[in-house]
């Protein structure tokens, strides 16, 4: 498997003092991927425990900025990060690696709407963090549940790394939101420009790349969502056309919602960990804070006609056509009868369900059968990103099913 190196791209992230050109150049660099044979980040434990002072030269003093008052800056100065008790407390609370300096943590707390300068906001870190998050989560979901329908995968992705989840995590982490961004604000607060009152934050977004975008009443298929929409199956905000990015300074002039700012912050933290402490630390952070959250995937299903879906599924998989049998019943003539119905394919029982009527019991049994199929999870799941480690065992292809039944 090819290793991806974010070295050139990350140079502007690691050294905020360097003005790495405008956003346009960075966007072009973003598209380039470089192949390398060496890993730029520590992979061994001893290397990872090395303090940051030995590896990163101390940040140079910005002489031009020292004379400027704090109130004229759009975001807190870099040197304020060392004086903030809240930032140090957050660093310790999240158990972040020592190689991640407080200055970078302070930078992850500055949203793009607060400071449009890409050298001082968290936009680049959040982009990296978002890619990592979605990659790790989708790998985990697809490899753990190889037969999940696409809609359930979208829902599970949203539940694991969606903006609502990320903003809830920010609340759990104890990060306070600043009222307004500025140089005098404590760097331990999440800073972003809030939406003006009266602005609707839920305006429908339009993606110009998508065909028939203006046909509001047309159905949007799952396949088109996979192609055109984001990882949650929701319309993306805009394209990343560099010609349009020039006006991005006023893109956030109206401000962002706290939810957007919080999710950007969490993504930026993961990106910062990846850049400063390396891939193992980022994976550990992902496991400890994201995958460890409990999500009952069987609740995400929503079947309209489970019996029909099940018969189609059996036909697709060359099983015998399913049929329902009453396994037991009680009180048929009473006010509260209970029927237990099993669905069989040949001699194999696919599922069983109980209900107060025969139809209800049959559809419940069909749902149970379908969930039993879709929620299959192989033993000893191995994720593709385990191949990034040194000395990994040879990769055996994982089983990924065809997906849901299309009726």
């Amino acid at each position: 498997m090819k290793r991806l190196q974010p070295q050139r791209w990350s140079s502007s992230v690691l050294s905020p003092q360097v003005r790495a050109g405008c956003r346009l150049q960075r966007r072009i660099q973003h598209g380039l991927r470089y192949q390398t044979t060496t890993t730029p980040f520590p992979v061994t434990e001893a290397e990872a425990k090395q303090p940051i002072q030995d590896l990163v030269p101390p940040p140079k003093k910005r002489s031009s900025r020292s004379a400027i008052s704090k109130h004229s800056l759009p975001s807190p100065p870099v040197k304020a990060a060392r004086e903030s008790a809240k930032l140090a407390a957050l660093h310790a609370r999240l158990y972040l690696p020592a190689r991640l300096p407080l200055e970078t943590l302070a930078r992850t707390l500055v949203d793009e709407s607060a400071d449009p300068n890409p050298d001082f906001n968290n936009e680049s870190l959040a982009t990296l963090g978002h890619d990592l998050l979605t990659q790790y989560t989708s790998e985990y979901l697809i490899c753990t549940y190889p037969r999940l329908p696409m809609t359930v995968i979208f829902a599970a992705m949203y539940a694991y790394v969606g903006p609502k989840t990320l903003s809830a995590m920010v609340k759990e982490w104890g990060v306070e939101l600043a009222v307004a961004p500025g140089g005098e604000v404590d760097p331990g607060h999440l800073q972003f420009k809030r939406l003006d009152p009266g602005v609707n934050p839920n305006q429908p977004l339009k993606n110009p790349n998508r065909p028939y975008e203006n046909e509001a009443t047309w159905r949007r298929s799952i396949s088109s969502k996979i192609v055109y929409d984001d990882v949650f199956g929701e319309p993306v905000r805009a394209s990343v056309d560099p010609r349009q990015q020039v006006q991005s300074a006023d893109r956030y002039a109206a401000g962002v919602t706290p939810e957007q700012a919080c999710s950007q912050f969490v993504r930026a933290v993961l990106g910062a960990i990846y850049l400063h402490a390396g891939r193992p630390a980022a994976k550990r952070f992902f496991e400890q804070h994201f995958i460890s959250r409990h999500l009952n995937i069987s609740d995400l299903f929503n079947f309209r006609e489970p019996a029909r879906d099940l018969s189609r599924l059996c036909a697709r998989e060359n099983f015998e056509p399913p049929y329902a049998k009453i396994l037991s019943e009680t009180g048929r003539l009473s006010r509260h009868p209970v029927f237990v119905v099993g669905i069989f394919s040949g001699k194999d029982k696919l599922g069983e369900g109980s209900g107060s009527s025969l139809l209800e019991a049959r559809s419940r049994a069909a749902v149970a059968s379908l969930k039993g199929w879709y929620l299959y999870s192989p033993l000893n799941v191995r994720l593709p990103n385990s191949m990034e480690e040194e000395g990994a065992a040879p990769w055996k292809p994982v089983h990924v099913d065809l997906g849901e039944v299309i009726v």
Partner: protein
């Protein structure tokens, strides 16, 4: 039955007129107006129109029955006293028929008016009291200049405090010995240098019985005579010339040689002529149990050092040592504030998640930390409420 004064006061308000006198609710209830028959018995038995008097007259069949005028002995002691007191203060409130006696008393008190008295209609020609304006331009008289009893600058050095205590002890011992009033030593604000040297050379050997008279140990007989002679003059009019006569034979150069380099060139400005420490510490164990001695000691000591002794401190002091200790405790630096202590504590300095503020954090600081302050100020400025 003779009713009490208070009830009397309520029932016959025209006589005493002390409405403000407190009457408890029970008594007030008792003193309510009653049917006439019942009220007649409550009246003062000594009055001429009382029921008993009427019955008495009826029995004897004459207006002047034999026997005592008032068989009950007239008004009681308290009533008489009460009446006299009120006659002087409350005059005008009394109704005319009830205050005949009071009127006479008041007329005796009033001073007879002069015949040529003419009430003034304007302020012109009246005597002036004080300065009506521009009094601050008038130069102060010699009597109006304030001179502090104590020295102007407080003495805090330990050696100088011991010197002051030693000098005070020596002076008071001499005053004890001469039988003079102890506090009269305070009239001598500062001794001549030669006299001070004699005092300085004198040792204190506290006797076992704590007597101040026998505690002095002079360097020689001559010094003893000189000191006794000097202190006999204390309290008199002319002290300084006598001192000079007596102390001519004292060798000044000798005194200089004792203190050598400690004494400055102009020793006059320095307290205690540049002497820095006492020769012995025997005076510290002297007892201050005698209140007169304690008072005299503290007065003289505070005159010499400039320190004030509050009453609780005076009460707890029993020896000279305690006096010196008390003054030295005053001179100690103030205890540090907790914030300074925490800010200088290396333990908290090394903790990155602990921040110690030197100042109290107020709501505006919190606002600034959250970035809210600039919004508030901008809004206030927009409304013209702040500049």
């Amino acid at each position: 039955m003779r009713p009490s004064v208070r009830l009397l006061n309520l029932e016959v308000p025209s006589i005493h007129g002390a409405r403000s006198l407190y009457v408890c609710s029970v008594c007030r209830h008792e003193a309510r107006p009653r049917p006439i028959v019942a009220r007649q018995f409550l009246r003062n038995a000594s009055s001429a129109n009382s029921l008993t008097e009427k019955v008495r007259r009826k029995i004897w069949g004459t207006d002047n029955p034999p026997g005592l005028k008032d068989p009950y002995g007239g008004e009681g002691v308290i009533e008489r006293k009460f009446k006299n007191k009120h006659a002087q203060t409350v005059v005008e409130e009394e109704t005319p028929e009830a205050s005949q006696a009071l009127d006479t008393a008041a007329s005796e008190d009033a001073a007879p008016a002069a015949d040529d008295y003419e009430p003034a209609t304007t302020w012109e020609g009246l005597d002036r009291v004080g300065h009506l304006g521009r009094w601050f331009d008038i130069a102060p008289a010699a009597t109006e200049v304030y001179e502090s009893f104590q020295v102007k600058k407080k003495i805090t050095k330990q050696g100088l405090l011991s010197l002051a205590a030693h000098q005070t002890v020596v002076e008071l011992c001499l005053m004890h010995k001469l039988g003079k009033p102890l506090t009269s030593i305070c009239e001598v604000v500062e001794h001549d240098q030669s006299v001070f040297k004699l005092i300085w050379k004198t040792k204190i050997v506290p006797a076992s019985n704590g007597q101040w008279t026998a505690a002095l140990e002079y360097p020689d007989k001559e010094a003893e005579e000189a000191l006794v002679y000097i202190f006999e003059q204390v309290g008199g009019q002319n002290v300084a010339p006598e001192i000079e006569e007596v102390t001519q034979d004292v060798d000044v150069e000798d005194a200089r040689s004792d203190t050598t380099d400690i004494v400055d060139m102009d020793g006059s400005k320095q307290p205690f002529f540049g002497y820095q420490r006492t020769r012995d510490n025997g005076f510290l164990s002297l007892s201050l149990d005698d209140p007169a001695t304690k008072f005299a000691f503290l007065k003289r000591f505070s005159q010499l050092t400039g320190h004030f002794f509050p009453d609780p401190a005076v009460h707890s002091i029993t020896t000279v040592q305690q006096v010196v200790d008390y003054v030295q405790n005053l001179a100690k630096p103030k205890p540090k504030k907790l914030a300074e202590y925490l800010a200088n504590n290396p333990r908290y300095q090394s903790m990155p998640n602990v921040k110690v503020f030197a100042k109290r954090q107020k709501r505006s600081d919190r606002d600034e930390e959250l970035g809210r302050k600039k919004l508030i100020e901008a809004e206030l400025r927009a409304r013209g409420l702040i500049e």
